[in-house]
């Protein structure tokens, strides 16, 4: 029986056939294509992993530099502010503007591919409201 919060299984590698991504416990061929062991294990593009980890890696590097220059208090205070700003969200299935978080990160003064391509506000799929809320509250 899978744990309700998938987030705890971050370091495990999903094996094909055991955790299909689709509804009703089978592979959703329309949305995620056919399944194979190679597909599950390898990333589909060399940049996929690097892009997924880009923001966290950048933050880690900046915080570590800040800690070396100004001491431990500086990254701690900043991370506290990030945590506070990250909690200002709309309901789980609605798109949030993340304005405070963007201002803290400095994203309000720059434009990148994440603002132009695949705008989350215009995505065609939406999570099912009741399930999203239950998942967030840990009731699922």
């Amino acid at each position: 029986m899978l744990n309700g919060r998938r987030g705890f299984l971050k370091d495990s590698v999903p094996v094909a056939g055991l955790c299909p991504q689709g509804a009703y416990g089978i592979q959703d061929c329309l949305r995620s294509g056919f399944s194979s062991v190679k597909n599950e294990l390898l990333p589909s593009h060399p940049l996929e992993l690097s892009e997924k980890n880009f923001q966290p890696n950048k933050d880690k590097m900046n915080f570590s530099t800040l800690r070396n220059i100004q001491g431990l208090h500086a990254p701690l205070k900043l991370q506290m502010e990030y945590r506070a700003a990250r909690q200002i969200q709309r309901l789980p299935f609605l798109p949030s503007s993340n304005l405070a978080l963007d201002t803290l990160r400095g994203n309000d003064e720059s434009i990148g591919f994440e603002d132009i391509l695949c705008d989350p506000a215009q995505s065609e799929m939406m999570g099912e409201p009741h399930l999203m809320v239950e998942y967030n509250l840990g009731l699922l």
Binding site: M1, P46, L47, S50, P92, G112, C118, P120, S123, Y135
Partner: protein
Amino acid sequence: KMATLAVRQSPVGGFSFENCKRNAVLEGEANKVGYSLPAARKTGTTICGVVFKDGVILGADTRATEGMIVADKNCSKIHYISPNIYCCGAGTAADTEMTTQIISSNLELHALSTGRVPRVATANRMLKQMLFRYQGYIGAALVLGGVDCNGPHLYSIYPHGSTDKLPYVTMGSGSLAAMAVFEDRYKPDMEEEDAKRLVRDAIAAGIFNDLGSGSNIDLCVITKGKLDYIRPHDEANKKGVRTGDYKYKRGTTSVLTKSVTALNLEVVEETVLTMDTS
């Protein structure tokens, strides 16, 4: 086990790699049958830049190719970055276009934030950091030039993110032809007219010796107070004007004798068919 319906991660913007595997499979299938997927539009190109006494001059040809076909006979390869900085782009046309537009927007926001005229080194740093982040998958080879508070600067930026700061640079498929002209005739601190003639000749060398470059020559002269975007500076290849002719002139073959025989025809029947103009 309970069925978990659509519990999605919150969607993020940016590049989506969802279709990469499907595209790889499709390409494999197409290659098995003998077809190849359509090629992206490239600007197989000659672009170059030179630093002269008062500023920089950027030059570019105007042909965009799609495999072996000319997709655009008069495309503009010198892109605006800021009022004092322009950038020529070679490589995949969409990549150069979007990259220069994104950097132009970022530079404008940065200039508004600092309250100063943007520097060429800032644009260079932004471009190289973005291109390195995408490890060369964004195929944009750029020649960046401009004049700021520290004088005129010229950079060449490669798709993987390396940059060179030089007094004269060329990029694109015709870069070797253009570089040959530069290596022969470049002198430091040239006058504007000499520098314009040099850039024009370098691009013309690329146009006439490289299949990927053609059509006209665009120039952009950037000096401290003035900007000249000359498009086209020189129409090296006019469409419809043939350079040669297969017809022989009268008198090429000398006439020895001439006899004229009248052909007598008699009119048998004459009918007039009116056109249906209703």
